[in-house]
């Protein structure tokens, strides 16, 4: 038996190595299969349901003290917006800029920065978590999204809030590539969800999304749309962009980015 064991051991070792390589290679292939993709993506709705069940609309992201603020708040994504419209708005310090609120609302709105500053404000020192893995702590100030939505008066069929942005992170052949994001009404009416126009006691810089950036504190950074131009209330996401509810969700990332 001991004479047989060595070849067997070698055989087992080789099969284990082959299995490992085959498995990972197979995973690459499976990644491209719509069925497997469907299974893998099912984890997102499980995460969503469990986290909503546990935290729902009530749990609050931790708020830090001024001493906790990151010395440098990293700029990520688009650092500048390369369109003539945006450059013209920036040149006038966004005096002509208006935030359009439309879609499934009873009262469409056009809000200037001054209008937004006159709405109920919230200031919060929170941690920003990028999907890449890094975190930065900053002090954000802005109008609560709920106060904007209350003024626009949602129609009963409204289910999602879509943020249309000024920047094209990519110029795809199909015309998509303009940044957008969307959240559900639970996050939209969460007290920490604000339309920030200030970071660390200064007006938003272009890199951080001037003139207006969404803060949706219990989700990852890519949900925090920068350069917000228009807010659209809708009952479905499949007719916007490539139909997954956001620029990065259209490119394989989770729409619900609570993890």
């Amino acid at each position: 038996m001991s004479r047989m064991l060595l070849p067997r051991r070698k055989f087992l070792g080789l099969s284990a190595a082959g299995l490992g390589a085959g498995l990972l290679g197979g995973c690459d292939l499976m990644s491209d299969s719509p069925t497997v993709e469907g299974w893998l993506n099912s984890a997102e709705s499980l995460t969503y349901r469990v986290q909503r069940l546990l935290g729902g609309g009530r749990s609050m992201a931790r708020e830090f003290t001024p001493e906790d603020i990151s010395p440098v708040f990293k700029v990520n994504g688009d650092t500048e917006v390369d369109t003539d419209e945006y450059k013209a708005l920036l040149a006038e310090n966004f005096a002509q800029w208006r935030l359009r609120v439309d879609g499934l609302v009873a009262r469409p709105l056009d809000l200037s920065l001054a209008d937004l500053r006159n709405l109920p404000q919230r200031t919060q020192i929170t941690r920003h978590d990028c999907v890449e893995g890094w975190s930065a702590i900053g002090k954000w100030q802005g109008a609560t999204l709920s106060s904007v939505l209350q003024r626009a008066v949602l129609k009963p069929e409204a289910r999602f809030v879509v943020f249309h942005c000024a920047d094209f992170l990519e110029r795809a052949a199909d015309g998509t590539g303009q940044y957008y994001e969307s959240i559900d009404l639970i996050d939209a009416f969460h007290p920490q969800t604000i339309l920030a126009h200030r970071l660390n006691d200064a007006p938003l810089s272009q890199g951080h999304g001037a003139p207006l950036r969404l803060r949706v504190e219990r989700q990852l950074g890519y949900k925090h749309a920068k350069f917000v131009m228009r807010i659209e209330l809708t009952d479905r996401l499949d007719q916007i962009g490539r139909g997954k509810g956001g620029f990065w969700p259209d490119r394989g990332y989770e729409w619900y980015a609570g993890i």
Binding site: L5, R8, R9, L12, G13, A16, G20, A21, L23, L24, G25, C27, D28, S31, E37, W39, L40, N41, S42, A43, E44, L46, T47, Q51, L54, G55, S59, M60, A61, R62, F64, D68, S70, P71, V72, K74, R127, D129, C130, V131, E132, G133, W134, S135, A136, I137, E217, R218, Q219, L220, W248, R251, G252, Y253, E254, G258, I259
Partner: protein, 298 residues
């Protein structure tokens, strides 16, 4: 789960051809099922985790950490103007050249590419944070469910306490030293003593039994939604970035465990050991050990 739960039940089930061996029940069905599900999950979680780590291969301590903050650990690449790319691993202030292995990896064209880990170590092998996350979180859920089943049964049927927790005797320095000596001499119990885990084995299993839940807790602490639901968790680890660092260290220790585990299986008799984890039955010698073994002391 109608099978006997204990390796200690005396159930000679078969005789080998030479008649000096007997098969004893080693692992309960639930132990075997959860072991292999766990193995599958870890086989997916490790490379998909490295894929996620590719996006920002640096570690910090505390609440925050990004490019301009102090990095405790980093894998990266340098490229002087017009020069060749070199890869490095930096731990504190110590920097190691890892060109070709970490940081700077040769691509299909044979050129160095800025990439923390080679393609064979990540899932998918191509760079895709989105797909890496999909694999990671799907199997993270399976892993959590599987581990919950394992611990629920292990507590209920006494497997954890009886088979894995070292006895006071086994933790005596003399017993540990004797076991260490046996391991170094590659001397493994073949007879009745093989029914019980030896002290070092038990310590390794207790260690992995702590590391696996630690992976879940540090993983959850990285979720911004979980941090709002359960603020105490992330504070337990002194912040999200330290939780991420502990997640990485803990994963590295799990890799170390797997290497030792597989080597030990290969040395102790791969056929017998694999059979015990598949069918549940381990062959042991019918004769008493020629030398009394430290681990077998009552």
């Amino acid at each position: 789960m109608t099978e006997p739960q204990s390796a200690l039940l005396d159930q000679p089930l078969a005789r080998s051809r030479r008649g000096e061996k007997k098969l004893v029940v080693r692992h309960a069905l639930v132990t075997r099922l959860t072991h292999w599900m766990n193995a599958l999950c870890i086989l997916i979680l490790l490379p998909s985790g490295l894929q996620i780590f590719l996006a920002h291969p640096a570690l910090y301590w505390g609440q925050y950490g990004a490019d301009s903050d102090h990095r405790a650990f980093e894998i990266g690449s340098d490229q002087p103007d017009g020069g060749a790319m070199t890869g490095f691993l930096r731990l504190g202030s110590k920097k190691f050249d890892t060109t070709g292995y970490l940081g700077a990896i040769r691509n299909a064209d044979g050129d160095y590419e800025d990439r923390a880990f080679p393609g064979w170590a990540t899932l998918p092998s191509e760079r895709s944070l989105a797909e890496g996350r999909r694999w990671h979180f799907f199997f993270a859920w399976l892993f959590v469910g599987n581990l919950a089943i394992y611990f629920a049964f292990g507590l209920a049927n006494g497997h954890l306490r009886r088979d894995l927790l070292p006895s006071r005797e086994q933790l005596r320095p003399r017993a540990l030293l004797a076991d260490l000596r046996d391991h170094l001499r590659l001397k493994f119990p073949r007879g009745e003593a093989a029914r019980q885990y030896n002290p070092l084995q038990k310590l390794a299993y207790v260690g992995i039994g702590l590391l696996l839940p630690l992976m879940i807790l540090t993983g959850l602490a990285m979720s911004p939604a979980m941090d709002a639901i359960l603020p105490g968790l992330v504070e337990l680890f002194e912040g999200r970035q330290s939780a991420r660092t502990i997640h990485f260290i803990s994963a590295s220790l799990i890799v170390l465990f797997i290497i030792v585990h597989v080597v030990m299986v290969a040395l102790a008799g791969p056929i017998n050991e694999m059979r015990s984890m598949i069918t549940g039955k381990l062959a042991i010698s019918k004769e008493e050990e020629d030398e009394p073994h430290a681990a077998s002391a009552p």
